[in-house]
Amino acid sequence: MDTAAVEVVDLVKRYGATTAVTGLTFSARRGAVTALLGPNGAGKTSTIEVCEGFRRADGGRVRVLGLDPVADAAALKPRVGVMPQSGGVPTGARAAEWLRLLASFHARPIEPRLLLERLGLTSVATTPFRRLSGGQQQRLSLACAVVGRPELVFLDEPTAGLDPQARMATWDLVTALRGAGVAVILTTHHMEEAERLADHVVVIDRGAVAAEGTPAELTGGRREVCFSTDAAVDTGRLEAVLPAGSRVGSQGAADGRREYTITTDDPDALDPEFLAAVTAWCASTGVLAEDLRMRRRTLEDVFLQLTGRELREQ
């Protein structure tokens, strides 16, 4: 049990001229939830599909439960559960029928009826896959990933497009898997999902790891100062009166206002005096700072700072 659930070192994956994954390294512990977090196109699915043995790596080394996902595929398949981003079920197959089929491939499966109940699919047990709602299809796919009592499950965007109740049911299942000692690797672009579920978060951007750690480590208990105003703010001058290493960022808000965010590399610099310096500068330049606050940073803030990109899709 001392090998990692998944170990990826310097993974490279190319599609023709594009390089989707450019030297990615991370490892996932057994019995823990690891979230690969990043925008679409970041390389999350490519990474997970190499781990699942669907795609061959163009470089680097990948070990799943200590084995090679391609060469040792036959040994790994009974031990690993997979939930693809979409599809994977014949449109004419009925929900319970398909789950029972996947259960029959395993030696000691979970009773399909219990899983259907738990994921709220009992009422659609005899409904063909194509007639299920998107959320029901997702949950059936999740049930199929865990029905064989795997040691490790890969969930690719498990809650994409789910309504809040279905999302809660999925989160609850992931938590239960972790409690039972199953290693879970999931991809997501939902901050909240990563913060609530993951023991370990790997932030991926442009095919490489931008940062990793526990949610608490990533946000680092860091704070930042925010305010909004319709007055003109010379960010360079504001930075000049603050301790070295302070940065003032801005983005447009409603009604021609702008939202300003002050961050610093030194977490200890954001003390009461810092706040006083900001308000004093605002007073001296006639800037009325509305919604002025000092707050703890979220994973989303970390992500934006790391990548300068909006996390949400579209």
Partner: protein, 277 residues
């Protein structure tokens, strides 16, 4: 064996997984025996095929309608003798083709498109197991077709003229043809887009229906066309079945050879070029 250890990180959701959950999800991986996987998969394939409306039309309704329609009316010149005797072997050949070629190609093409083949590739069911299951399902549907069509034909007064060994010869022809048509189906489904497979498989079905001696022997065609048609798998099957079941003779080796070559060539191409996703 599982003890809860909570991490230092503050977790917003902490519905303590109950003991039931722990026993429910505690890892206990393992593959089922191969025969059980293949049997379940074959059962699933069979049910999906039989439930599919258009496939049922293609594999059951059309052959039965052709057999009944052309047996009871004289719109089609089928030559000497009772009409049902002349028609039944060709309609059986058509039924075999509709399942092992058209139905299999379209079904597999869409399974590939919807990621079903890829998803099954992540289960303990091996590729060999999946192919075995598909083969069993095709043979299962064909058994139902043969039983239904023979029953309908007998009800219409069919009296096959059988030579010693002709039923065995017919069965071997059907198996060889199934291998040839299935290989061609998998070659198309595994290399073309699903829509192209759908269009192509229907086109080939119609062409083979017209050119392949299904409803009347290709000997009524002009010379060059007859020769061209004679190398089609459907012609080999329908002429072979006609020899075995209507003419009371054993099919020539040519029919077996044509089907074997199609099976071999398409099988090799399919195993070389088939894409699972």
């Amino acid at each position: 064996m599982t003890e809860h250890t909570s991490t230092a990180s503050a977790r917003a959701t902490a519905p303590a997984a109950g003991g039931d959950d722990v026993s429910l999800f505690t890892p206990a991986p393992g593959a089922a025996p191969m025969w059980r996987m293949v049997a379940s998969q074959a059962g699933m394939e069979l049910r999906v095929m039989l439930r599919h409306g258009e496939q049922f039309l293609l594999t059951m309704v059309i052959p039965v309608l052709l057999l009944v329609g052309f047996s009871l009316t004289s719109v089609l010149d089928v030559g000497e003798g009772p009409r049902v005797d002349a028609l039944t072997p060709g309609v059986l050949a058509l039924a075999v083709m509709s399942t092992s070629f058209t139905g299999l190609a379209i079904g597999t093409g869409f399974e590939r498109r919807y990621g079903v083949l890829k998803r099954l590739g992540a289960t303990p069911l091996s590729r060999f197991g999946l192919l075995a299951a598909k083969t069993l399902a095709v043979l299962g549907v064909q058994t139902i077709q043969v039983v239904v069509l023979c029953a309908v034909a007998l009800a219409l007064g069919w009296s096959p003229s059988l030579a010693p060994g002709s039923v065995l010869a017919a069965a071997v022809l059907v198996l060889l043809a199934t291998a040839a048509f299935s290989s061609l189906a998998l070659l198309m489904a595994g290399t073309l887009r699903a829509e192209a497979t759908l269009a192509g498989a229907n086109l080939v079905y119609v062409l083979m229906l017209g050119l392949g001696g299904v409803l009347f022997p290709t000997s009524s065609f002009p010379g060059p066309l007859e020769q061209a048609a004679s190398v089609l798998p459907i012609t080999a099957l329908s002429s072979g079945l006609r020899a075995a079941l209507a003419e009371g003779s054993l099919p020539g080796l040519g029919a077996f050879a044509v089907l074997a070559v199609w099976a071999l060539v398409c099988g090799l191409l399919a195993s070389r070029f088939f894409r699972w996703d």
